[in-house]
């Protein structure tokens, strides 16, 4: 497998955000009350992530290492403002539903984390592949979590009723507690699935991969 395909595919499973590496938890929890919101947030993140990785990998040799985080933040913030204005023009209902979480894409750890860990060290093409893989993985995860919560909490997926007639929606699932519990269950499910896979291959049991430390993008200064 060529390196570019590898960079693309790793975001879809091995380092799938936010289920395998816990990056960008706030939007994951907040906007996934419906599948549609999850998809919309994912699309915005794909745009910002791809553009920021493209720009940062292009000028990575000019950025002085000491102020690189500040540079990344400026680039991301400009892109987020672009997304905000675009959404206000073309997808206003979605913009209103996502509310405060559109400007908060700027502090999404996923974007800063990829900039720091990948785009500042690699060329343009691999960085775009990495961004697309991560972005698509993030979108699929958010849509999946959103669909699950919407189905259990409201009986619909993308607004279409899917459950049987006598189904009683558990409104708990579309509120904040459902977000935490749903994400916890998915993470546990992923762990169980990985254990099953590695046992089938006859390997040793893998260490649980949900590290929280990668989740802030400030690893160097943290020291944990």
């Amino acid at each position: 497998m060529s390196t570019i395909t590898k960079e693309f595919v790793k975001g879809l499973w091995d380092e799938l955000p936010p289920f395998r590496v816990l990056l960008g938890l706030c939007p994951t929890l907040a906007v996934t009350s419906t599948a549609e919101n999850g998809l919309g947030m994912g699309a915005a993140v794909i745009f910002v992530l791809t553009m920021s990785n493209l720009i940062i990998s292009t000028i990575r040799k000019i950025i002085p290492p000491k102020v690189r985080i500040a540079c990344f933040i400026v680039i991301t913030a400009s892109l987020v403002v672009t997304v905000e204005l675009l959404m206000q023009a073309y997808a206003y209902p979605l913009y209103q539903k996502l509310g405060i979480f559109v400007p908060l894409i700027v502090v999404n750890c996923l974007i800063l984390g990829r900039a720091e860990a990948f785009a500042s060290k690699n060329g343009v093409i691999p960085s775009i592949a990495d961004a697309l893989g991560m972005g698509i993985g993030f979108t699929l995860s958010l849509t999946f979590l959103g669909a699950m919560r919407e189905m259990l909490g409201n009986g619909t997926v993308f607004g279409t009723p899917v459950m049987w007639e006598s189904f009683q929606p558990a409104s708990f699932m579309v509120m904040a507690p459902g977000a935490f519990v749903g994400l916890g269950l998915i993470l546990a499910g992923m762990n169980a699935f990985n254990r099953y896979l590695s046992r089938k291959k006859g390997e040793k049991e893998p260490v649980s991969q949900n590290s929280t430390c990668a989740s802030c993008g400030a690893c160097n200064s943290c020291g944990q």
């Binding site: 706030c26 933040i73 913030a77 400009s78 908060l104 700027v106 507690p177 802030c216």
Partner: protein, 191 residues
């Protein structure tokens, strides 16, 4: 009375982590031990207050008069990032004991949605300066309370027989969900 209600509601009824989902990354990342949680919570209260005190005048007296409110995001994040840098440098020089307990967490706070979220939210809700500061302080306290409680629970969970696949973050998330459910009960009390 109005301020008192705002204060209580920002701490309990609209708890910033458990009801509004802001700052979930540090909530999971720094809640492994109570000491770390206390440090992080203290740092968040401090920075939220400072950030609100600076971004409120910036928005009211610079962005609105010049009609450039759409630059809010970029202006706020730059102010917060540089503020955190300055606070770190100042503490290192002037108050070494405080720097020792908070210093480690300051760089993490730049990417904390709670600080940025409070700064944006007080503008969207149209709070006055004093009200904004109250809201910032109360949100910070709410974050500290949630973080300390979950860290205490996680310390106990570490020595409890938890199913293998739930170990670590999954069980912590489910505990957070249950905590969030309890905080939802405050909504019934306020109504």
């Amino acid at each position: 009375m109005e301020y008192f209600l705002l204060f209580i509601s920002a701490i309990f009824i609209n708890n910033i982590v458990l009801v509004q989902y802001l700052g979930a990354c540090p909530f999971m990342g720094t809640s492994k031990s109570t000491d770390v949680a206390l440090g992080m919570g203290g740092a968040v209260i401090f920075v939220t207050l400072m950030a609100t005190a600076i971004t409120w005048p910036l928005h009211q007296y610079v962005l609105i008069p010049y009609g450039i409110e759409y630059l809010q995001t970029i202006a706020f994040i730059l102010v917060i990032a540089s503020l955190v840098q300055f606070v770190e440098m100042f503490l290192k020089k002037a108050v070494p004991p405080l720097y020792k307990s908070l210093g480690l967490f300051l760089p993490l706070i730049t990417t904390n949605c709670a600080v940025m979220g409070v700064a944006i939210m007080v503008q969207r809700n149209g709070y006055s300066f004093f009200k904004s500061m109250m809201y910032g302080l109360a949100s910070g306290i709410g974050f500290l309370i949630a973080l300390v409680i979950i860290s205490a629970i996680r310390e106990r969970l570490d020595i409890s027989p938890v199913p293998r696949v739930f170990k670590g973050v999954p069980i912590a998330l489910i505990m957070a969900g249950i905590m969030s459910l309890t905080f939802f009960a405050f909504q019934g009390m306020a109504a």
